[in-house]
């Protein structure tokens, strides 16, 4: 009898674990606004989540690309500059792990925005990508108008800016931001911490397995 209850409890525990594992979905971050509409004569309240606004920049190949090209992609975004002496090398080392995990998956991309457009011209970005060993179109280094990029950073819930006292002249945060196919923020990870980056790599898989809504 004892043995039986013991076994039963074990089974229940296992079941609980499995149940939790299956149900995992990633949260949606940022502001949400309730929008009330009338559908078939009935009032329906819908939640509209913060999303990344449309943008159009230039990548390391000199091609004009933007949010239009990312409509069917999950992507990871970060903000950097090529001459950054402090945390960027750590971020790039960790982002390379993300790149290597998903470079052959068509609908997963990496977008690195430079926050130093004056120095990081297209040839500088191309050389930087080459030296990192990046080829193809799964990792873009994007160059755009400074104010537009700084504005855009806010929608990714990241703070960037010029700061004469910071190493390299810019202050920024080393977050990796996970964006889903609806342009919602689904995760934010410290790009300088290999453990959080492992979590990001796992979460991309979870997000990819999510049933398509809307």
């Amino acid at each position: 009898m004892r043995k039986l209850t013991g076994g039963l409890i074990l089974l229940l525990l296992l079941g609980a674990c499995k149940f939790n594992g299956d149900k995992k979905t990633l949260p949606i971050y940022g502001n949400r606004t309730p929008v009330t509409k009338t559908v078939n004569g009935q009032q329906v309240t819908d939640t509209v989540y913060q999303s990344i606004p449309a943008f159009k920049f230039v990548n390391q190949y000199g091609d004009s690309v933007g949010s239009k090209n990312l409509q069917h992609d999950i992507y990871v975004a970060d903000f950097f500059f090529t001459s950054c002496p402090s945390i960027c090398p750590i971020m790039q080392r960790n982002m390379l792990a993300v790149y290597n995990a998903y470079k052959d998956t068509a609908d997963i991309k990496i977008i690195s925005y430079t926050i130093d457009p004056k120095h990081d011209t297209v040839p500088v970005l191309k050389k930087y990508a080459d030296k990192l060993g990046i080829s193809g179109n799964s990792w873009w280094f994007l160059l755009g108008d400074k104010d537009t990029v700084y504005q855009l950073a806010n929608s990714y819930l990241v703070n960037v800016g010029e700061d004469k006292t910071a190493p390299g002249g810019y202050m920024h945060q080393g977050y990796f931001i996970l964006i889903d196919k609806q342009q919602h923020v689904r995760g934010s990870y410290d790009g300088t911490d290999p453990k959080q980056v492992d979590q990001l790599i796992a979460d991309i898989k979870t997000l990819k397995a999510e049933p398509v809504s809307k």
């Binding site: 001459s83 002496p85 402090s86 945390i87 090398p89 080392r93 390379l96 080459d130 030296k131 990192l132």
Partner: protein, 138 residues
């Protein structure tokens, strides 16, 4: 009696040699462990926890022969940074390392650490060694 004196002298000599040895090894340990902290706070972001570098952007510190070749210049590299083309571990680098902003003793510590980690075995570099080397930077 005579053998007693000889034994005594021998013992003293041995003790002397032994204490000298442990002196340098204590010195080495002190430089090395302090150097590991300097490395973590000033170098690891670029050169990596295992001295692996970063692709073709930042060279690894695992190439003993390259380090040996630049051994006398290492303190100057820490003091002034390094710029321009170099070939390390068979790869070309054309980046820029900023001046580390370290004191001569911290330079000695970190050079001892790097010189004896990541598969390197270049021995201890003291604060005095660094002082001499720094006078020869151009």
């Amino acid at each position: 009696m005579k053998t007693g004196i000889i034994a005594c002298i021998c013992f003293l000599l041995l003790a002397l040699i032994y204490s000298c040895q442990s002196d340098t090894s204590i010195e080495f340990k002190q430089y090395y462990s302090a150097g590991s902290l300097v490395y973590q706070s000033h170098c690891q972001n670029c050169h990596g926890a295992k001295g692996e570098g970063l692709a073709a952007l930042i060279p690894p510190l695992t190439d003993t022969s390259s380090l040996k070749k630049h051994q006398t210049k290492l303190p100057c590299i820490m003091q002034n940074g390094l710029k321009g083309k170099t070939t390390i571990a068979g790869k070309d680098f054309d980046g820029a390392m900023p001046a580390a902003g370290l004191t001569p003793i911290e330079i000695a510590q970190v050079v001892t650490y790097v010189g004896n980690s990541f598969g390197n075995k270049l021995g201890v570099v003291t604060g005095d060694d660094v002082g001499v080397a720094l006078r020869k930077c151009n």
